[in-house]
């Protein structure tokens, strides 16, 4: 059973064993508006928890996507580079950003679960 967690920077991370898929939340894509460009890390590169790992640009501005965990990039979603609107249409499905091999499989423990994230978003007003 995969574990789904969220960050205060509005990334989601879905862990299945030693790997996890990362993307941005529906709230994030709504706040950004039309997404026109995504820049993803190279497979094989390292990501560090809390550091920038990808860039997402809306019609108005560029925003950073932070890695919720540390690890090695094992796959990136080339489909969103070709068609960034997929991130708006399906942020938690077809709009995923990257897959990482986790340094620490318990790294998600400190992140918010879905109920906590929904409460966090509601408080953003």
């Amino acid at each position: 059973m995969p574990t789904l967690r969220f960050t205060k920077d509005h990334e989601w991370i879905r862990q299945d064993g030693e790997t996890a898929v990362i993307g941005i939340t529906d709230y994030a894509q709504q706040q950004l508006g039309d997404i026109v460009y995504v820049e993803l890390p190279e497979p094989g590169s390292r990501v560090e928890a809390g550091k920038e790992t990808a860039v997402v640009e809306s019609a108005k501005a560029a925003s950073e996507v932070y890695a919720p965990v540390s690890g090695e990039v094992v796959a990136v979603n080339a489909a969103i580079s070709d068609d960034p609107a997929k991130v708006n249409a399906d942020p938690m499905g077809e709009g995923w950003f990257l897959t990482v091999k986790l340094d620490d499989p318990s790294a998600l423990d400190g992140l918010m679960d879905e109920a906590a994230y929904e409460k966090f978003v509601a408080e953003q007003g």
């Binding site: 460009y37 860039v55 640009e57």
Partner: protein, 368 residues
């Protein structure tokens, strides 16, 4: 609804309508303005190019120069104001004494009077400048009691004819006419056919709702207004032009009339006439990055060897092209269309080319 820091922001007469339409409101030029509606910037942009979009531009300054002659205004702008026939308008530039651009504007001849439409962020300063320079000879009135709506797109004329009568469909580009309580100009800031409609503040909501009720019309926010004008190659004051840029460097020498070139008599004429003969070091250009990454305002422009040659002044994603576009200033020898250069985005120099402007062909009305 208050957003942070909005307490001293001004509102246009359409503010409540924007909120009711679900607009995302942002601070802009001292006003709380709609940046986009729930449809989003790309849909709003493409809809304006395909049908018609309604923009609230009431934040802009509508100015009457009571008692001003064309000769008086020509001491402040390099455009041919004397040659402006009744009911016609012209894009021009308010210049400082060094030939720098204080503002860009539309100058209108209406009967015996002259009117200006100026930018929101600069309107108070413009009025101060105009009063200082025309004081005693003309009365400068800023019409804060009027709203301004822009209706833009290939269906704009058909839509407006249902509200203001069929006469509007044959109004020449850059002409103006009083139709009942509406003061209508055939002009805009999108590269499309369209109109700007001035109306008293008290009647603005009624007019906006009447236009939005037409099936071709969607409300359009400032986000799409910016992408539309950028595709059309039009300058945004404070970004692409300012007091440090002259009309020649900005590629706006076409606004200087033939007679004005011969006679001078406008602010900074010595410098500008010299620049017309001997072009200045930098020049505004259009840029098409090869890849998909938008190059935003402030991005460095470098030559293929990485040497700094200029800076992006406006840039983003062009919805009509599905690709990024930008404008900026470079050293003149890099300004020919096709010249290879690069834009630095997130510390990476990304190949790009100088492109002719407009990026998207303009479709202004031409009389048959």
């Amino acid at each position: 609804m208050a957003v942070d820091g909005s307490t001293d922001l001004r509102q246009t007469p359409l503010h409540a309508l924007h909120v009711a339409l679900g607009a995302k409101m942002v601070p802009f030029a001292g006003y709380e303005m709609p940046v986009q509606y729930p449809t989003g910037i790309i849909t709003e942009h493409l809809h304006t190019r395909a049908k018609a979009g309604l923009f609230d531009v009431s934040h802009m300054g509508q100015v009457s120069l009571h008692g001003a002659t064309s000769a008086m205004l020509e001491t402040l702008v390099p455009g041919d104001i004397a040659g402006l026939a009744d009911g016609r308008m012209r894009y021009s530039l308010l210049l400082n004494d060094e030939g720098g651009i204080i503002d860009d504007l539309m100058a209108l001849r209406v009967g015996d009077g002259l009117q200006l439409v100026v930018n929101a962020a600069t309107k108070d300063g413009d009025v101060t400048h105009l009063r200082a320079r025309l004081g005693g000879k003309a009365d400068v009135e800023l019409h804060d009691d009027r709203a301004l709506l822009a209706l833009q797109g290939p269906e704009a004329a058909a839509v407006l004819s249902r509200v203001a009568g069929p006469g509007v469909t044959t109004m020449p580009f850059l002409s103006c006419a009083q139709v009942g309580e509406l003061f209508i100009t055939r002009s805009g800031y999108t590269g499309e056919d369209g109109f700007e409609i001035s109306v008293t503040a008290g009647r603005a909501v009624e007019l906006a709702e009447r236009l939005l009720a037409e099936p071709e019309v969607l409300p359009i926010g400032l986000g799409a207004r910016d992408t539309l004008r950028l595709e059309a190659g039009l300058c945004l004051y404070g970004h692409d032009i300012d007091e440090t840029t002259t009309p020649v460097a900005a590629g706006l020498a076409w606004t200087i009339g033939k007679r004005r070139r011969e006679q001078g008599g406008f602010p900074g004429a010595d410098r500008i006439l010299k620049e017309l003969a001997d072009p200045p070091a930098r020049r505004r250009i259009g840029i098409r990055p090869d890849g998909r990454a938008p190059a935003r305002e402030g991005s460095a422009i470098v030559d293929p060897q990485g040497n700094l040659i200029g800076e992006v002044t406006s840039g983003g994603f062009a919805p009509s092209l599905g690709a990024p576009i930008a404008m900026g200033y470079v050293a003149r020898r890099y300004s020919d269309p096709g010249t290879e250069l690069a834009v630095v985005v997130r510390d990476v120099a990304r190949p790009a080319r100088v492109a002719p402007m407009p990026f998207v062909p303009t479709r202004y009305y031409r009389a048959p």
